[in-house]
Symmetry: C2
Subunit: 160 residues, 2 copies
DNA sequence: TTTAAGCTATTCTATATTAAACTATTAGCT
DNA sequence: AGCTAATAGTTTAATATAGAATAGCTTAAA
């Protein structure tokens, strides 16, 4: 099920790891999205509610950075969440460029009800590997998630 | 940078690993997509070309299963690739429900030119972990990518 | 052989997604 | 103060995405 590409040993190792990483992330996401379906929330809507729930109100730019989406996208998704009455927008007085997004009462109730079920699904997905392996995975993914240049910077900083 | 959720030790381990896994996959995908931009191919278009290039012609259903996309989506993306002259569709004579998608000459040239560059980007992304770690990552992700039920089945099969 | 069931692909609807162009606002510099 | 940079958010255009409904085709059963 790995790559069919013929290249150097190292290239093939890289491609196989890359393919498995992407496939794991995509297939888990797909299955979790199905679990979210009864709530009629999309994955991104859920991410935003969850972020606001656990980190508190924040502006759209920060929200976009947290969930790795473009600012235009955040505008749209927050629009839809606002229409559903789950979040509200408040423009900052001190700096009128900023808009603080926060959960409404209904939004809080919704996410606090859904989150435990969602967590259960995640635990269920990850149950096939043990706690040590979870930690190994976490560490490898942490390194990969940072941009190479950022990693180089980290290494540089460490060397002092 | 991990979860702010307060739960059992195991739940927190799971959530942290899950978050890092998703963030690694998403941020790598984002950076690779940027690398693809000069080609004016989208990620899914590239995936489809690459799949046809390395695995040969196949019908849309199979293609969808390979790249983990819905059949309706495949129809659209193949439409766009067809408009660009990169793939062609041929309806099967023996079973007229099937449509075989294959690369055109232009499609083959395009993907064979792009793929090495893309591979270079992937190698560059993964360069921050060594070959042993790549293998570890591959194995863990392989297990996670399968549905739990499929894993159970594998374990059952192994026990014979 | 006709019907039922199942499969493939398309269409349609609603939402997501990014990049780029644009507006409004603020901060910094002279 | 006034000009310039930069920043936050919105809009637009093109593509992606899932899911449900639909149409056409095939196979198996009655």
């Amino acid at each position: 099920m790995g790559t069919h590409y013929r290249g150097s040993r190292h290239e093939i190792n890289v491609l196989n790891a890359y393919i498995k990483l992407m496939r794991a992330a995509n297939s888990i996401t797909g299955r979790l999205a199905k679990g979210l379906k009864p709530t009629s929330l999309t994955m991104t809507q859920f991410s935003i509610l969850e972020t606001l729930y656990h980190l508190g109100p924040m502006n759209q730019r920060t929200l976009g950075a947290k969930v790795l989406k473009s600012s235009g996208n955040i505008t749209l998704v927050v629009d839809n969440l606002e229409k559903s009455g789950l979040v509200k927008r408040v423009r900052s007085r001190s700096d009128r460029r900023f808009i603080t997004v926060s959960l409404t009462k209904k939004g809080k109730e919704t996410i606090s009800e859904i989150f435990p079920d969602y967590l259960f699904l995640i635990v269920n997905e990850m149950e096939v590997i043990d706690d040590n392996e979870l930690k190994t995975l976490e560490n490898l993914c942490k390194i990969l998630g940072l941009h190479k240049r950022e990693n180089d910077k980290l290494i540089l900083e460490k060397s002092y």
